[in-house]
Amino acid sequence: MLEVRDLQSAYGRILALKGVSLRVETGEITAIVGGNGAGKTTLLRCLSGVQPVSAGTVKFHGEDITGWTPHRRVAAGIAQSPEGRQVFGPLSVEDNLRLGAFRRGRATTDENLESVFEMFPILREKRALPSAGLSGGQQQMLAIGRALMSEPRLLLLDEPSMGLAPVLVDQILDAVVALKRAGVTVLLVEQNASAALAIADRGYVIETGRIAHGGTGQALLHDPAVREAYLGL
């Protein structure tokens, strides 16, 4: 579904991605794990088109989308729940969600709103409140729900477990698995490597802008080098 080849991206003179290649297969959860500053967020920003790419290509369903605008990618079915949630703080929960459907027809918006509320019932309760007042976990659900409102074929999740209590982390990851069952392809970025690899079909380890390891989720979980460096085992 997604094929990234030799992708490079820089902040000024600092190269944050030094040639990243990876594939995301339809219907799978693909995890990207790696430490602080490895380039995970930069990679997702490039995939959404909000970060300039200096070399390499991104192909989505065989089509080269490297130069596409962010809104064209959303329309094509790539949605992102960004690092740090980035909800529209002054806007209500419902408005946040409806904006998620900005590139979709009005016809399906109410239906999709309903399914997001079914997935995260707390959002229905708080639908009229400004999203700035939600707890971290609720904002995370909102960010994921907002991304789902565009009916994505590929969902990019940047550290959905960051800063959440363990019980909420489980709830969010359960939701990711449920999404996969519902047919959404997921690219999941996590520092919480063991949790992410445990639910992933395929995984990549990224180190200072390069892919260091790749394989099935289970293989990576049992790879001694990965275990030592990222799982603290």
């Binding site: 962010p70 809104h71 959303v74 329309a75 904006l99 590139r103 907002r146 991304a147 565009s150």
Partner: protein, 291 residues
């Protein structure tokens, strides 16, 4: 005394409504881009001047006014397209300097295309003052106030009730997230320039029968509108309206009770006072978030 107060009140609200409209223009563009558009006053100038010259050329007033708004919107869109968009990614200070340059350029062009004289428009519904509780009120004041109220309401409905309006608010709240949900933020900025230009031009058309216009009225109006936006809190549409009306009232009372020579100083005093005592203004973002 009561009649005098009422007189100050109405004239203060009338100029205040114009400042509020200019401040709203600042706010729309600032929210979409962090740019303070100092060419905002030139939209007001264009509104008045194009109407004056179109009427002189024989066009009926409503047509002349519509033409003036179209011209201002075209200039606003061109300003965005030719000066702001190519500099995308530059610092806010750079962009602000670009808008100052644009305002000097527009004033220069206006001086050539039009002239250096002062011009007036006939009041829309006569200039016989209406006596109200002993105060003499110009009918044009009601045009200004009514026009401002319509703009405020229209903008409110647009921002709060339409998905595109909410996309504008979302862009103001979090530009990255807006792009990630598929909002074309360049389009939102262009829209903001167009809307600001239309609002500014309308203000210029409505006020010209009272205050006259010339190629260089924009400078002072931009300053007043900026002071109003600062007072209300940069980025808050409600703040822009309240700040504009307050500034108008302050000026009117300062002119009436101290001396009209100090009228224009009020705006400077307000800017300095706001900067020193409450940089976030009355309805500024930070004070809202703290609640």
């Amino acid at each position: 005394m009561g009649a005098e107060l009422l007189q100050f009140l109405v004239s203060g609200l009338t100029v205040g409504a114009v400042y509020a409209l200019v401040a709203l223009g600042f706010t729309l563009i600032y929210n979409a881009s962090d740019v303070v558009n100092f060419a905002q006053g030139e939209f007001v100038m264009l509104g008045g001047m194009v109407t004056v010259f179109a009427v002189a050329a024989g066009l009926a007033l409503p047509l002349a006014a519509a033409l003036a708004i179209l011209v201002a919107v075209a200039v606003g869109l061109l300003l965005h397209r030719l000066a702001i968009e190519p500099a995308r990614g530059a610092s806010a200070v750079t962009l602000i300097i670009i808008t100052i340059g644009a305002s000097i350029f527009l004033r220069g062009v206006a001086q050539i295309v039009f002239d250096k004289q002062f011009h007036q428009l006939p009041a829309f519904s006569g200039s016989d003052p209406i006596l109200l509780a002993g105060a003499a009120i110009l009918p044009q004041s009601f045009w200004v106030l009514g026009g401002a109220v319509l703009v405020f309401l229209g903008l409110f409905v647009f921002l709060e009730k339409t998905l595109l309006g909410k996309a504008v608010l979302a862009t103001a709240a979090n530009r990255l997230a807006a792009r990630l949900v598929g909002v074309d933020t360049s389009f939102v900025l262009a829209l903001s320039f167009g809307l600001s230009a239309a609002i500014g031009a309308l203000a210029g058309i409505l006020i010209t029968p009272i205050t006259l216009t010339s190629f260089d009225v924009g400078t002072m109006l931009a300053l007043k509108g900026f002071a109003a936006a600062m007072l209300g809190g940069m980025g808050s549409p409600l703040g822009a309206v309240v700040g504009g009306l307050l500034l108008g009232l302050l000026e009117s009372f300062a002119a009436g009770t101290i001396s009209s020579a100090y009228k224009d100083a009020v705006a400077f005093v307000v800017i300095l006072a706001v900067l020193f005592t409450m940089p976030q203004g009355l309805f500024g973002r930070r004070s809202v978030e703290r609640v």
